[in-house]
Symmetry: C2
């Protein structure tokens, strides 16, 4: 995933919760507008996740996942592993988080993986430079708005979610129209400024530390990697990896060997990475420790076709290509992946294949397709070595969020690691027909070269071996007329005593190349959060009754087992039903707390559990139990074994609720509100 890509593009929209893909048609989930505060309240109350080390006051940018969050995350990961690794026979890796300095120096992270920060000149408080400019200018625009409204509007702060802790007070001061336009222009491009430009903006607009009013320093670079020392001497510096990608690249030879020396193949890695953000904000969307899943698909640079492209070519995606963005538009282009590749909008089949597969995965776990788009990077956003890059962006209350990056990284990483370690990281591919061509080949007489040049002999040899074809041809012709200087040196050689250069016919059997890499990189925490927003709604009759409409595939618990009362006669049966569900591979949880059945159902809805089985005394005497569907609250009843079979079908998506209604009786017993 690119570091520099904008986290949030486009303004946040006051979205109503839209129907998630798992919604039953008959339930209207859009009666109440989406409330982020309500969702966050539920997350804390039901311990999906909370700020880490809460009892110690918390640490910014670190989050702990509780039972529901951990299970949801585990299911998202399991679906990912099945969809990508198993389905596509990818080579899974689990490489270390701890990474020595040399590796990240080579990859460019030691020098370039940084953000710009400013210091309050008096109290030393630190700000991320772009956030500071953004916060102050937004506050001034807000103040302008108030002033234009005649000062009658109450003083408003810039929303906390945009600036986190550092709320910037908006003063009702009217701006010149020209200044206002300038500010708006700066904010629109805030992600494109480097340190020096941010420094100029700070001077030009007299931007100061919001609370103290002090001037701030020139922006300086802050490397975002956590550093440490490996071993007891302090001599081996290490970092926590900022991405898993380097772990694939340093193991490339082993992977290639495992794949019998052939490309294409893909490696995949699911694991934690770390970025020491200057000022983490936006909840789970920008954190210091996060779980990511990365695929590195190694491919012949001359052949980026994909053997399974036909299977996805008719998948329709919503594209936001770079030319649309350059025209200042956000209109989506709906096209099949096949059309997108054949028209050249998407660079090659392999890239197109992964865009389609990413789309299928996100829909499978429950992302709303109407809030998913694929945005192409503009030329100035991409790393210099990348040839094309598309982000899967998901719309949330924070705006459109980059959740998956899908870049063609070309041969950059393997090339730099090969150069640094002097290891061969190339692939050899047999030509179908041997390739025959002529080539100037130097032959050095080492036995003569040594005595003649002594300590310089090695330098002379290296200079000769570094010559290109043109230089060799020219030198060969000079040598016909007597001794000549080796180009770019002062050493003179003669032929044939020291050097022979001949035009030879080469019959090349194999082609040697450094593979290109197509990299789909998933921020699982961001997908997790987007899924929460897309799944959350409130009951029409009571906006405080929240529901998370998770699909059974990802729901933390599939079935709640509820005894109607805490009577001890029910407990053996309750335990037995839970055990039988688990034996069928269905995650079940008993709620035998003393809360009313209605409260237990509500809790169940908040946990996103799709089904509930209720046991009462009829269960003991007649062997029946009820089955409740979360979204509709409809209930059916049947023999315990039949109900379990129906649930199994529903969870494995081999049968539908409509079929369940055929197999079981409608239940109209008293239903708790």
């Amino acid at each position: 995933m690119s570091k520099k890509g904008p986290l949030i593009s486009g303004a946040p929209l006051p979205l109503a919760a839209m129907s998630s893909s798992s919604a039953k048609n008959e339930v209207n989930k859009t009666v109440h507008p989406f409330s982020r505060a309500q969702l966050e309240g539920l997350m804390t109350k039901r311990f999906f996740y909370i700020q880490a080390f809460e009892i110690y006051g918390g640490v910014a940018g670190l989050y702990d996942y509780g039972p529901m969050g951990a299970a949801l995350q585990a299911n998202i990961i399991s679906a990912w592993r099945n969809h990508f690794i198993l389905e596509e026979e990818m080579l899974e890796l689990d490489t270390t988080i701890m990474t020595p300095y040399e590796v990240l120096k080579t990859s460019g992270h030691v020098d370039k993986f940084a953000d710009w920060m400013c210091k309050d000149s008096k109290n030393g408080e630190i700000f991320r430079a772009d956030h500071l400019v953004e916060g102050v200018l937004e506050a001034r625009l807000k103040g302008d708005e108030q002033a234009r409204a005649g000062g009658s509007a109450p003083k408003a702060d810039v929303p906390a979610e945009k600036t986190k802790k550092k709320k910037v007070k908006a003063e009702a001061v009217k701006l010149d129209d020209a200044v206002k336009a300038e500010y708006e222009n700066v904010l629109a491009q805030i992600d494109n400024y480097g340190g020096p430009e941010l420094g100029q903006l700070i001077k030009k607009y007299d931007i100061r530390a919001p609370e103290s009013g002090n001037e701030v320093s020139e922006p300086i670079e802050f490397n975002l990697m956590f550093g440490t020392n490996i071993g007891p001497t302090g001599a081996l510096k290490g970092y926590l990896r900022p991405e898993t990608a380097q772990g694939h690249f340093v193991n490339f030879s082993r992977l290639l060997d495992f794949n019998s020396g052939r490309v294409p193949f893909a490696s995949a890695h699911i694991g934690k990475s770390f970025r020491n953000e200057i000022s983490p904000r936006a909840g789970l969307l920008r954190v210091r420790e996060f779980t990511m899943a990365e695929i590195e698909h190694f491919v012949d640079p001359l052949d980026k076709k994909h053997i399974r492209f036909d299977e996805v070519k008719d998948v329709k995606l919503s594209f936001l290509p770079k030319d649309v963005q350059q025209a200042g538009q956000t209109t989506l282009v709906e096209k099949t992946v096949g059309e997108a590749v054949s028209s050249g909008m998407v660079d090659n089949e392999t890239l197109g294949y992964f865009l389609a597969r990413i789309n299928l995965y996100l829909l499978k776990i429950g992302i709303d397709p109407s809030r998913l788009r694929f945005r192409q990077h503009m030329a100035n956003e991409m790393a210099h070595y990348a040839s094309d890059c598309w982000d899967a962006e998901i719309q949330t209350s924070y705006g459109w969020i980059e959740c998956v990056g899908c870049a063609d990284r070309s041969a950059y990483d393997l090339t730099v690691h090969a150069k640094k370690t002097k290891r061969d990281l190339t692939v050899q591919k047999l030509h179908k027909e041997p390739k025959i061509y002529e080539k100037w080949v130097p032959e050095i007489e080492r036995k003569a070269l040594g005595p003649k040049f002594k300590k310089d002999a090695k330098a002379v040899e290296e200079a000769i071996l570094a010559l290109d074809q043109e230089q060799l041809a020219s030198l060969a012709s000079q040598l016909k007329n007597g001794p000549a200087k080796v180009p770019e040196t002062d050493f003179e050689v003669s032929s044939p005593e020291l050097l022979k250069i001949e035009l030879k016919t080469i019959k090349e059997m194999v082609r040697e190349f450094t593979p290109n890499v197509i990299e789909p990189s998933f921020g699982l925490g961001r997908i997790f959060y987007a899924l929460l927003e897309h799944s959350f709604w409130s009951r029409a009759e009571d906006k405080d009754r929240g529901v998370l409409s998770f699909a059974p595939l990802v729901a933390p618990i599939k079935v709640l087992v509820v005894p109607i009362s805490s009577n001890e006669k029910l407990s053996p049966l309750v335990r037995d039903v839970a055990a039988r569900l688990r034996r069928n591979g269905i995650a079940a949880r008993v709620d035998d707390s003393s809360a009313t059945i209605g409260k237990r159902y509500s809790r169940n809805d908040e946990l996103g559990t799709p089904f509930a089985c209720t046991l009462d005394f009829a269960s003991v005497s007649h062997g029946t139990m009820t089955l409740r569907e979360r979204d509709t609250t409809k209930q059916l009843i049947g023999k315990i074994d039949d109900v379990i079979a129906v649930i199994k079908g529903l969870c494995e998506a081999t049968s539908s609720w409509e079929e369940a209604e055929q197999k079981l009786e409608k239940y109209s017993g008293e239903q708790a509100a």
Copy 2:
């Protein structure tokens, strides 16, 4: 997992590979003695795992898992999650690796999580003090052995696996019998020495740096946690967690709330932890970054019964209790868990329950039961707060290895965190009958206290509130006779103006307590390695043909799909069969490389793939394929759908190979050697 527990207890045995639990009876797997070098060679060749950053020269104590290792590990973890978390409705957590200083200061890790190291006095080389003493004394004993053999034996080095890099040369010098006995005694207790004792041994036996021959420094403590800074200021110091346990404890209130305020319940966490070992050795057994799985079972200290104990009470385990060890013996005691608890050998039902469940898990994934024992910690090994502790130890070529620790940590952790953060980390439990008792209760007149003591008022109040019942009773009686000093202070108070102390009748409805914690802690990397040793053997006819007999539950790949030749007519069918297997939830991998079928089967055996399906032209014309069983190399043949159904049954352990032989035909076509 305890840090101080010996990694290796008992001498390494030259073990013959014994039959693993998944072995078919008809195959003799013990013809060739176990060779660690051969297993390690296979691990590298087939990229199960290798030292991390190999192309950069490698980093000690860090390992990368390749495709087979990562898949084996994922399956071990998945089996763990099903066996423990889902089966027992545990509350899963995923907490951060990054941990602030305060938390680990409170838990005791900042002060105590350390090993002793010595420095070469001249070149600065660093040694772990116990390893240094051990290596040098072992070398001297080896030299003595050679000298006693008349110097005829070749000079031998101490095996590299015991000391890793730092091989200590053994010189053939005969020792006095008394000295020899002393050395042996020291080595037997090497894990029990602290820094000062190690320093004395170094002086007494003139132990020097092995290569340089220089003197070494006094042992100094080296904290084993990796330190770093969180955020840009450097003001917030952090560590990478050395265990996941603290993440459970700091979230205890949230967990308790999730469980409706009731104990017992268990939380569980699977994730990476870090220890900056001074000199990592013994391959995967002592590393700097490792995956662990920890359960914290919170329980009423007055009621450590377990509701599901009956389900495991007849499970028979091999115990090595502390009294046997104190007598210098290693004879195992075979007992059921029920007997072990009722006799008091195992402290309580919950601890016994987990020992049985750990045993069942290890057997399920394929650990050889004859090389598994439960060793009780001796009093001097246990943390001071622990009340009982048992390690599941697995025998490998390195000796008996601690793979799971199962300790009763009492209320230690919750108590220290509650004290530090002033948060309530207790449980309230309703008494069945209200408890009625009398109690001295102080009532402070704050309005009078303030004016009288001014700035000392708070100290006076705190001193009074800190008094115990005895002190209150005594003070109450003194106050009857006029003003009296508050015990342990110089402040004098009078009654009733400043303070009233009365004996009141208390009707207590709830009992408040800090729960105890039973902690099963799994080193998954060690289990992974032990499983490799227990699964590895060589074909009787050729000791170079290694086989890994993984059970289908954990095998990285369940089925290899092999086309008999690379003829293109076979490929659509090959892809179709692989896709159908995957749709049935069976991890399948195609090997359509150009190697002979025999070589592909051999590779398959080395990867531990239990089944292979071979497709030939009869498959295209008649729709049949063969099924090969890895251990016996027996082959059957049948219709493709029938073979897939048989494999599904075998992988889900719902049917046996004998049943497969009923359903399919024997195949006697040419079988590759």
